[in-house]
């Protein structure tokens, strides 16, 4: 039988690969993969309880609503929905975006909004617009693991600023800006997820939000506020987004429908001052011409129905229960030396273990117990985070979460005990044996905001 013409030639040999390698752009040198990638491949096994992903729960979205809306689109707007659309996105989609942002107190000018293919594309386009190789980019430590490959692919010099329970340390940021100033450098952007941060689950305090915005204004620096989870608050009072505090001069905003509707529709957006937006639009044209028109029609229909807030409220109820299940299980099953954050919203808890535990290696052990998490190293550019882990509570049921945390706690306990045997240190008493209440000591996110760190 002749070979199907579309198949890659089997003659792609090792030396071909070396030949391709000779053609690779310099930026691919810093695009890192690692042994961890192979580990993560195993987390996809169906028998694994995965606390690793960042998947929102889409199982409660009403199928009839979905069917009715898609049917209406097919009947009334088939030709348009199947056609290309404007690079900036449809005005109707932008109206929905303005409505969503309004729910958090923001009033963007529709002219400043671009619809993107997920929030991820917005990060990419902003870097494409702003970052030359070697430019300084500032972000939190830890930062959104998905932002790191973007910064790397534009060959940014990524500088991470420590977070504590109140978010990014603004004093450390100022010191870093001073240092860069001394070197005659100016960061091209300061990337932050201020609310229910991915991965740390922490929220930037109002005071720090104000200081960050003032700092950006006085130094004329751009802050990129990535806010996928702002509407997913389970407890505590809402805080104003940076965009609202700043008014949109020095804060560029990234939003997404992924966590409040569906990640599968790949719809996000950016709001930027007109001169920046002009370049972002050109960049998007080069990338993909326009975001899916079909899913933009879907969002338009969905918002016209006017029940999007109810759906978010139902998600908030589901996630709150799961977060509580996770925090309770952590208290029961993690050893006393572990600490973790207690998020008021979002999808993630960040746990930090004793320094002698490398969570990448721990993952291998955890996978034997059929449970997975994201090793903390994924949230740093410089190998830090080795003893931390990101735990997701949006994807699994409360029971799965409890069982998953129990299994992780078990393997941590074994490592703690082994380390004790190796060093002669007192083996730790497992948390469960102490019957602690769910309130107390382990819920110290990072250092609590102390003197001079506000």
């Amino acid at each position: 039988m002749p070979d199907p013409p579309h198949r890659r030639s089997a003659h792609a040999s090792s030396s071909d690969l070396q030949r391709y390698a000779g053609l690779f752009a310099e930026r691919t040198q810093v695009m890192r993969s690692s042994a961890m990638r192979d580990l993560m491949a195993v987390t996809a096994r169906p028998d694994v309880i995965s606390l690793a992903g960042g998947l929102p729960d889409t199982s409660t979205f009403p199928a009839q609503t979905f069917a009715a809306q898609m049917t209406r689109i097919a009947q009334e707007s088939a030709a348009e929905a199947l056609q290309y659309g404007p690079t900036e996105g449809f005005r109707e989609t932008v109206d929905c975006i303005v409505e969503v942002m309004g729910a958090e107190g923001m009033l963007p000018d529709p002219e400043d909004v671009i619809v993107t293919t997920g929030g991820q594309q917005a990060i990419d386009l902003l870097c494409k617009t702003l970052v030359d190789p070697g430019d300084a980019v500032i972000c939190e430590a830890p930062t959104y693991p998905g932002a790191i490959p973007v910064f790397c692919s534009y060959q940014a010099d990524t500088i991470q600023i420590e977070c504590d329970g109140d978010g990014m340390r603004i004093d450390e940021l100022e010191a870093t800006l001073e240092r860069l100033d001394g070197e005659g450098r100016r960061p091209k952007l300061i990337y932050s997820v201020p609310s229910f941060q991915n991965p740390a689950g922490v929220t930037m305090s109002l005071e720090r939000r104000r200081r960050l915005v003032e700092l950006a204004r006085s130094r004329e620096l751009l802050v990129v506020e990535d806010n996928p989870y702002g509407l997913l608050r389970f407890s505590g009072d809402p805080l104003p987004p940076l965009y609202q505090l700043d008014g949109g001069d020095f804060v560029i905003y990234i939003g997404t429908f992924s966590k409040i509707l569906s990640p599968g529709i790949r719809l996000g957006w950016a709001v930027a001052p007109p001169p920046v937006m002009e370049k972002v639009v050109l960049g998007k044209q080069a990338s993909d011409l326009c975001t899916s028109t079909l899913t933009q029609y879907f969002v338009r229909e969905y918002f016209a129905e006017g029940r999007w807030r109810e759906y978010i409220e139902s998600l908030v109820g589901i996630y709150r229960e799961r977060r509580d299940a996770m925090l309770d299980a952590l208290q029961r099953h993690f050893p006393p030396q572990a600490t973790w954050t207690e998020p008021e919203g979002g999808l993630f808890v960040w746990a930090t273990l004793p320094p002698f535990i490398d969570t990448s290696d721990l993952l291998a052990k955890a996978l034997r117990e059929n449970v997975a998490f994201v090793p903390g190293q994924a949230a740093y550019v410089d190998g830090r985070g080795r003893n931390s882990m990101r735990l997701n509570f949006s994807a699994g049921s409360a029971d799965e979460i409890r069982e998953g945390i129990r299994r992780i706690g078990k393997v941590i306990g074994e490592q703690v005990e082994l380390y004790g045997a190796l060093t002669g240190e007192q083996p730790a008493v497992p948390a469960v044996a102490k019957q602690k209440s769910v309130e107390t000591e382990n819920v110290v996110p990072f250092r609590k905001a102390g003197e001079g760190s506000a």
Binding site: S13, A21, A35, V42, F356, A364
Partner: protein, 310 residues
């Protein structure tokens, strides 16, 4: 010929195995064989028993696929398979066992000590660690006894790094070894049947031989094949590699990893079923010997069906 390709499995090298398997299937189809791709899961034995392939191509790496387990099942089913026998697989997968065999056979391998978890938990082995500095010196390498690629392999620069490195290594296996670090050129000799293929040298791009992860990335490590070695060096390395291959009872194919130190080669380990992906070393070596990937796959099949193996 009806050829089953066994791939996947539950080991941490599942991803590599799927890539190896896919590439082998592709080559087998081109060679005109009737290919039966099989995921190594709970249905494997049932499928093999009902499909009755003429031969099984084992494209699995790590525990489960490379340690004799799958090979044993194939023997029970009476299906010829590629690569080393059950016993050879069992010896190669366990670095501690392999090193004992190598030393008995007079093949040079770096000094080491091995411990299992019980020794530390119940027998107070930690007190024996103090003898390490004198016997092995620093830096030393801490590895899980069974495990592939760079996973769980750590350098200990000094005494204080050891407990942490041990905790990491014990995440992968309940037995670990502490091995003297040998500085030198990193070489791999693939053996096909009983023939050594040209030697591959791995050269870390940044010159950082401590970065194990870099070794598995295109662009961060460059591979030279045939390695630029003198005649005497080539002979010494080849002799050590063939010696190791034979000492562990390998057949079909395998890959021997060595360090060429100032005082000669030292065998680190033997991979019973080395990777067969686009970037793997065995296919590179075969190519340097003038064999296409298809020819390599065909030869591996021939060896599996040769009377000596039957």
């Amino acid at each position: 010929m009806r050829v089953a390709v066994l791939k996947g499995g539950r080991s941490l090298e599942r991803g590599v195995s799927l890539r190896s398997g896919a590439r082998v299937e592709d080559a087998l189809e081109r060679l005109g064989h009737d290919v039966l791709p099989l995921e190594a899961d709970g249905n494997l034995v049932k499928q093999l028993a009902s499909e009755r392939p003429d031969v099984a191509f084992v494209a699995m790496h790590g525990p489960g696929g490379e340690d004799g387990t799958t090979q044993e099942l194939l023997e029970i089913l009476g299906i010829p398979f590629t690569g080393p026998s059950v016993a050879a697989c069992a010896r190669c997968i366990d670095k501690v066992l392999a090193k004992h065999e190598l030393r008995s056979a007079g093949i040079p391998t770096p000094d080491w000590f091995a411990f299992n978890e019980t020794a530390f938990r119940e027998l107070g082995a930690a007190d024996a660690l103090s003898g390490l500095e004198e016997r092995l010196g620093f830096p030393l390498v801490v590895k899980p006894s069974r495990g592939g690629s760079a996973l769980g392999v750590k350098f200990a620069e000094n005494w204080f790094d050891v407990p942490e490195a041990l905790v990491s290594a014990f995440s992968y296996d309940d037995r670990v070894l502490l091995e003297r670090f040998v500085d030198g050129r990193e070489l791999a000799v693939s053996v096909l049947g009983s023939e050594p293929l040209p030697i591959v040298e791995a050269i870390p791009e940044g010159g950082d031989s401590y970065d194990f992860e870099a070794r598995y990335e295109i662009g961060r490590t460059s591979f030279v094949c045939p390695a630029g070695l003198g005649e005497a060096e080539t002979a010494a390395v080849t002799e050590a590699a063939l010696g190791a291959y034979e000492a562990l009872g390998c057949s079909g194919f395998s890959r021997v990893d060595l360090i060429l130190a100032a005082d000669g080669p030292q065998v680190l380990e033997v991979n019973a079923i080395p990777g067969l992906t686009d970037t793997s070393l065995l296919p590179q070596a075969a190519e340097a010997a003038g064999m296409s990937f298809e020819q390599l796959v065909e030869r591996i099949l021939e060896l599996a069906l040769a009377p000596a193996n039957a």
